[in-house]
Subunit: 420 residues, 2 copies
Amino acid sequence: MALSKKPVTGMRDIMPLEMQLRDYVISVIKETYGKFGFTSIETPCVENIANLSSKQGGENEKLIFKILKRGEKLDLENARGEEDLVDGGLRYDLTVPLVRYYSNHSNELPSPFKALQMGNVWRADRPQKGRYRQFMQCDIDILGEPSNLAEIELILATTTTLGKLGFRNFQIRINDRRILKAMAAYSGFPEESYDNVFIILDKMDKIGMDGVSAELKEYGLEAESIEKYLDLFQGLEEAKDGLLYLSQKLQGVLETEVSQGLEEIMASVKATKASEFEIVFDPSLVRGMSYYTGTIFEIAMTQFGGSCGGGGRYDGMVGKFTGKDVPACGFSIGFERIILIMMENGFQIPGEHRKVAYLVEKGMDTGRLCGIIAKAQEEREKGAQVLVTRMNKNKKFQKEQLSGDGYTEFAEFYKNPLKQ
Amino acid sequence: MALSKKPVTGMRDIMPLEMQLRDYVISVIKETYGKFGFTSIETPCVENIANLSSKQGGENEKLIFKILKRGEKLDLENARGEEDLVDGGLRYDLTVPLVRYYSNHSNELPSPFKALQMGNVWRADRPQKGRYRQFMQCDIDILGEPSNLAEIELILATTTTLGKLGFRNFQIRINDRRILKAMAAYSGFPEESYDNVFIILDKMDKIGMDGVSAELKEYGLEAESIEKYLDLFQGLEEAKDGLLYLSQKLQGVLETEVSQGLEEIMASVKATKASEFEIVFDPSLVRGMSYYTGTIFEIAMTQFGGSCGGGGRYDGMVGKFTGKDVPACGFSIGFERIILIMMENGFQIPGEHRKVAYLVEKGMDTGRLCGIIAKAQEEREKGAQVLVTRMNKNKKFQKEQLSGDGYTEFAEFYKNPLKQ
């Protein structure tokens, strides 16, 4: 069979220059999140197909890379469908594996448990520019913390990390699924329509108030309810303090602790006086995943065309595994997007060391070669990066290439010691 | 469908304590190899099934996790066999992907190209203690360097890394496939028997000279040849300088450059005066993979029961992809084994920072909470790890747990400021 030089469809090789940046970003993320008490964990890339198909993953469950059973378990002849052939799949996110992990190990873990996960996930999406079928996710989650200390720590850890990576002027937008629901209830929408109302509301950024109105009508909701709903958003635009406005308007359908909780999160985050970003209440923020039960948040970088990550509270998911709910809240950085932005902006990795290239002529006698190798090793011990390589015939071109790779110092070693 | 709390068969979750060590080891490896001019690269975990089944992987090709075709490409009804259902697989090593990567990108890469890869590989081995179906490999390779500068740099980079991780008294054993062949030729074994002779020789450590003799006889080789072969090993045991002994004995069947090359590698490595390890010529070293064409080497840690990595020269593999051979040489550290040894020896990660836990009573008013959050953030900026968590009812137990997680300083914040 012919061998293929290309990576599989929709996946990509990562070149040295990008890897250098990725390694740097990973180290900043691990160090910064570590300062907040998050500890790294890892789960296998393969999960049981039943766990991946349990309706926690929404649309992503249609995009699973499925793994064939092996050995005696594979019975092609009697297989009636895919389910007879497959026992595992590549994970499509890090949340389902985290919840499985926590359910399996909660006895051995501190409570609350603050987890950091960095790992690849796979989705068989239609290949398109800038979107790959294997990509890195970077999630922090706090399990077992019911209070909004979880949200505060997650948001601060994430924004501090982004700040350390040089990001400025970004926004954290925050909302609560319970506010979304209360607004829908207040307007008189039937409960079974909520999910669809939110899907339409999510397009507010793109299609505006009129567009949302038209789509709600098309979906078959009553004109009176739609008007009442959009009046709320109109009022919000004019209100000085949106949260205060809503907590007054929604009395009776929204518990006061919800708006108080958001208030407290925003105040605590602002109290750190971080100047890189602002945190704002955004009542039109929806976040797709249906597993969210409370607060939801998103990183908005308008200068880079949109969201660079997000998260929220999903208090019900652990119970799916254990029968007993555990409070849970997470924040995911859009790692690939962040790398792309940093690459495009020509980000310079700080604090690089000396880079020296030793060019060694062929045919050097062993004794002199030994001396050169020992010298290189000494320089490395002192902190320099030293490349020992053979001298090419076209030495000028070789040095140009090495300069391109970042080498700024050169030492040449000839067979004939007098040439030194 | 019932959800499973366990990881899939043969794979495992990694707990925070081990992850901390893994992260530390990864950072030491990246930094040390970086000093030698190795640059990180990454390839997708999924490869085309044709590439994985091209006979480069030996026995590992029987252990592939195969991935089902998706969408319209999957035609269950008309599938006659596995090959109709599968288009990809999880990589079983990092060498085949590296060679594909190099073939695909050699125009954009420096020559010689020094690559560092750290990544998971998958093998559907029968599950057994300490052996998992997903594990991390850590490979360095030099492509495009025909001279033994490649071997010298690979060995020094690897031993320097092991030294930085605290390993002492280990051995690098080195041999050359061409010496193995010359010894077989000198003894008069037929060429088609070489691979089997080497497989038997590989057991020398376990079954001794007599055992090897018996198995060679059983395999059907002539008694005279066997005697001649074992006499060589007998002579080697008595010889002061094994390499010199062999180069004299094997005159005519072994090119002098082979033994000179090994000599030079050993001398250059010794010239660095590294005291952590010794490098020795081992004529019974075989290394399994049939793709090796020249030098082969292995890290021996007898106190930990055997090999902790190895590698060698495989000048023919790039040609399988491009039609044009490129010199190639690699060294792989047994990452999982190293982690296991370090865990068992209670390795202490150096240079940890202050670890402070803030215990915050429930119901704190927002203003005071803001102050606490701001203070935590300041301490983090100054380098401390600060965990902000709610105060449990059983504070004593909570502190004991946190001590177990490494927190040595505690600050308590009460609702009632007078309690402070």
